[in-house]
Amino acid sequence: MNLELTDEQVALRDTVRRYLTEKASVTTHVRPMLDDPMGTTSEVWAGLAALGATGVLVPQEYGGSGMTMVEAGVVAEELGAALHPGPWLSSAVAAVRALTRLVTGEDAASLLTGIAEGSTVATVGPLTGPRPTADGDVLRGEISALPDAAAAGVVLVLADYGSSTGLFAIDATSAGVSVTEQTHVDPTRKLFNVTFDDVRAQRLASPSADDIGGLVDDVLIAYAADALGAATAVMNLAVDYAKVRRQFDQPIGSFQAVQHLCVDMYETVELARSGVLQAMWAADAAPPAERHLAAVRAKAFAGQLATVADTAIQVFGGIGYTWEHDAHLYLKRLLGWSAFLGGSDKYLQELGRQLAMAVSS
């Protein structure tokens, strides 16, 4: 029982935090990228790769640092706190875990090497819902709400393949691939509708439902860590503001009504942090059933987590309702997480159902 970060994990966190503060702040990077479907510049992406952020989960033999989801969560939290709009979750977590969880042998070697270097950006889909169909090595169909497709040079597609499921790699520039941006609540995350019209694909694996479940859990856990970072950041902004904003000749943070709003945010953030820590650990260290529950819980709590930004806006008052203020960007990030792969209700019900099954058995 030791839930503290190691010195190495703290150093990783501080390195990423410093880089984002200096090179990719909300003002200098996030806002300019709001209308850019790439979500990143090649300079910022190369910088993240140079820090090792893109290779956190890539095994060492392919040029990564071969770390666990705990370290990935540490990085994700920092990126979330900075509202980072680049394709890190898609490429460094979803694609890497798809390749390491689902693919055996050397088929994934060059992709993993490229992702770790930052020269390859990849995304994976669909994680839920209907899948495209593969006939031999030809793919047809569409994926909706696929993250980071414009930035991705490689799309990893889970497709119906005969009576099973195949994981296919597609060069995003291939003939027959068309990518259309879908605007949604969160402009710091880029989502796309991607259609495949008889596209040549390379089959990498035929994963089982359990393997795919593990991948989805990993993605949910990393997104949850990102959202935790965003919620923590907007809470800190609001608490700091309450200490200096004066009305009635005193800081508004001296009023109990405002203090209690701040504590409500703190309570929600610390509950979420508890869940994320346990999930980050469970992703690699716990049995699959425990990992899955941890991931579902994190997603089920997403709606509650979004209230942190709602409350922060209330503490800011009028200024928090403006475009100029960053509060709305955090709210949108948290609402995007809340809506990702289906709203919280579905996941809350799944938890209730699991509980019912556990007690009856």
Partner: protein, 385 residues
């Protein structure tokens, strides 16, 4: 990062679980639920506390010299989880063991430690704590019960309220105003008072569901021997905040208790139908169960984080008071869910009773509002008015 327990803690857990399985009877479990209204239940619980103590399974966090077993923090955590999971009743002297005994260990005479502590653990003596007064609730330091030295005695006058088990107690750890001229935190002293002394009158305080677990204690010219003073004269506030330096796992009872309640609730729901359909197929009910389940699990991890921080030098910022607030809120949500779905007769009226008694969760031991104000200033660093 590692959420698993070391092997020696698992061994401790296994031994305790086996002992509970062999010794904890249904009668004792039932008595734990009836103690506020059934005198026989109270006696059953006394016998149980003695059994637990004689077997070495009471007050495990205490040093061995006082009848404990010097359990490590993680063993304490496992102890709280296992006893709660087995539905073992909370010890009758739980307040004494958690809040009074540490002060006796620190400030008491050798005779007090030797005579009082073992009898407290066995429930040979029942203890109460005289703190709250009608005019001193959340603002505890404004208490007005007076103690005036007269020869070899303190003469005590005043009134206490919300005294748990006051009507059954043999001893009271009484907080009194010994210096009315000092600032309010600095004029308080602590006395160990024999409840049979002349001038003490106790009336059971009946709470909203008809139970009598609390009492009002009236003190009228009670002559308390001066050597009953515990700790320094006018140093009562520091006595009140004494805790066992290694007692860290108290919060574990909070989540373990909610986990048991949640399991009991789901078991009761499994037999229930609404409009002819099983309740556990109703999406709204499943959703609410899910909400409660997430928060209970997160409360568990919050408590574990606090323990990990004390073990490994991490940052335990405010997690204890946070855990208390969350426990209270989730306990109320769970009770409301049970009542809403099962109705007033569900689960042999148990949930209906809980719906009522859960109101106390956000009041007892410091209201949620006081708790939030303390967290705001001490943890978040917001300015005081």
């Amino acid at each position: 990062m590692d959420f698993s327990y070391p092997q020696e803690v698992e061994q401790f857990r296994k031994e305790l679980r086996a002992w509970l399985a062999a010794n904890l009877t249904d009668d004792v479990v039932a008595a734990g639920r009836q103690r506020g209204r059934d005198p026989d239940a109270f006696e059953t619980l006394r016998v149980w506390d003695a059994t637990l103590s004689d077997a070495g399974w009471a007050a495990v966090s205490w040093p061995q010299q006082y009848g404990g077993r010097g359990a490590t923090v993680l063993e304490q955590l496992a102890y709280a989880e296992e006893t709660t999971d087995a539905r073992a009743p909370v010890p009758l002297n739980v307040i004494g063991m958690n809040n009074i005994a540490p002060a006796i260990m620190q400030y008491g005479t050798d005779a007090q430690k030797r005579e009082l502590l073992p009898r407290m653990v066995r429930a040979d003596d029942i203890w109460c704590q005289g703190m709250s007064e009608p005019e001193a609730g959340s603002d505890l330091a404004s208490l007005r019960t007076r103690a005036v030295l007269d020869g070899d005695d303190y003469v005590v006058n005043g009134q206490k309220i919300w005294t748990s088990l006051g009507h059954r107690a043999d001893w009271c750890q009484l907080y009194v105003r010994s210096d009315p001229d000092a600032p309010k935190h600095k004029g308080i002293s602590c006395l160990i008072v024999d409840m049979t002394l002349p001038g003490i009158e106790v009336r059971p305080l009946v709470t909203l569901n008809g139970d009598a677990d609390f009492a009002e204690v009236f003190l009228n010219d009670v002559r308390v021997p001066a050597d009953a003073l515990l700790g320094p004269l006018n140093g009562g506030w520091q006595v009140a905040t004494t805790t066992l330096s290694h007692e860290r796992a108290g919060a574990a009872r909070l989540y373990a208790q909610l986990e048991v309640q949640l399991r009991d609730l789901v078991a009761d729901l499994a037999d229930s139908k609404v409009d002819g359909r099983p309740v556990l197929e109703d999406s709204a009910t499943l959703r609410r169960l899910g909400e409660v389940a997430v928060r209970i699990k997160y409360l568990e991890v919050l408590c574990q984080r606090s323990i990990s921080a004390t073990l490994h030098g991490g940052d335990a910022l405010g997690s204890a008071s946070l855990a208390k607030s969350v426990w209270a809120e989730v306990g109320q949500e769970l009770a409301a869910l049970a009542f809403d779905v099962l109705g007033p007769l569900g689960g042999h009226r148990r949930w209906s009773d809980r719906r009522l008694t859960s109101r106390s969760l956000t009041i007892a031991g410091g209201t949620t509002q006081i708790n939030k104000s303390v967290t705001a200033t001490r943890v978040l660093g917001l300015p005081r008015r």
